[in-house]
């Protein structure tokens, strides 16, 4: 597990970009954190880091369920499970299949359906009680898809080391 701390939203975006730069086709990243914890900010930084054009508006897919960005080199899907009530609804989105077929998938509130998602990276964002801009960021993995990149990831996130 990697612990980090960002002190403003720009740092959260930058940290997300650092993770994105190590992302590969078939990766699934699960984002957990309360409302306002910075999940959409993370996604903005992640999208930029993976090469999505700055002209693209990255917004929360709470009502549209999945937003898809195509960089020309890789396709990134941003999903939000917040409005879903059943695992079959999650399955309907076919997120794991999208990853299987070579895309990258980032799933907000994905922790409630981690069994459906298979191997993934978990990024959890938690607000700090003392400072409203500070976020405690915890990165962990389910499965082995990040094993060979783990040390690199540690180094990439060291500057926000907690």
């Amino acid at each position: 597990m990697i612990n980090a701390r960002t002190t403003n939203v720009h740092q959260t975006e930058e940290l997300a970009g650092a993770i994105a730069s190590l992302a590969r086709p078939r990766d699934i990243v699960v984002l957990s954190g309360e409302m306002g914890a910075g999940k959409t900010a993370f996604m903005r930084g992640f999208a930029a880091g993976i090469g999505v054009s700055p002209d693209e508006t990255v917004s929360s897919p709470t009502f549209t369920l999945v937003h898809t960005y195509d960089t020309g080199k890789i396709v990134v899907h941003h999903a939000d499970l917040y409005r879903l009530g059943r695992l079959s609804d999650v399955e309907d989105l076919g997120l794991r299949e999208l990853a299987d077929l070579g895309d990258v998938v980032v799933v907000e509130w994905g922790d409630v359906a981690s069994d459906v998602l298979g191997d993934h990276l978990v990024v959890s964002l938690e607000a700090d009680d003392d400072d409203e801009d500070t976020r405690q960021v915890t990165v962990s993995v389910a499965g082995h898809t990040w094993d060979s990149r783990w040390e690199q990831l540690k180094r990439a996130l060291a500057k926000w080391g907690d």
Binding site: L81, G85, L87, D89, E91, E97, D100, V116, G118
Partner: protein
Amino acid sequence: MLILGIETAVEHVGVALGDHRGTLASATVNSDRRHAESLAPMIEFVCAQAGVTLRQLGAVAVDIGPGLFTGLRVGVAAAQSLAWAFDIPVVPMCSLDVLAHRMSRTEDDVVAAALDARRGEMYWAVYKPSDGRMTRLTEPVVTPPDDCAIHLAERDQYVTCVGSGFVRHQESFEALTRSTMRADEVTWPSIDDLLSLAGQRASREEWVEAHMVEPMYLRVPDAEINWATREGR
């Protein structure tokens, strides 16, 4: 009765129109996952080729899987829309039934149909052919190929194997004696087979209303998401 068949459960998209005389027009496009973009123009195309309008349809048949989730959704939604719009029934077709149907005249005891499910698994089911009709002996499941190989070995019958599952996981079935591999020739469910099998079913009125059609995913048992344990939602 005029039936429109839709196949989107695999990598290619297939559309066909037919009636009691057989297939009137059909089209297959290797879509590279562009199911949504390909489907509507293809339906238009086959209707134009056959010289019919959608209003003349008596039923719509659609592959409900198991197969590619992203494709299934497109086909099922299209079939439902047409069924609602023209007040016609839907004939839901299992991809493995369609695959097995091609072998309905085999001399072997049973037919195993399998589609690759990725992640080292496959969707499969076993059928018994008799008088040109197939009866499912096992319900479709998703398992590692070895489970299927063990099942077939224990059956100890002459088996014809079809579908991409046997191509992708060939090595798991090498030790299987009394088997005939036909998977290289019959790899995917074909739109013509789908239409012909759907025609048989439609003649027996084995169809459902649009809202009853659901994709067959097989992956996880359904459950309520337990949001209660998640604070701060």
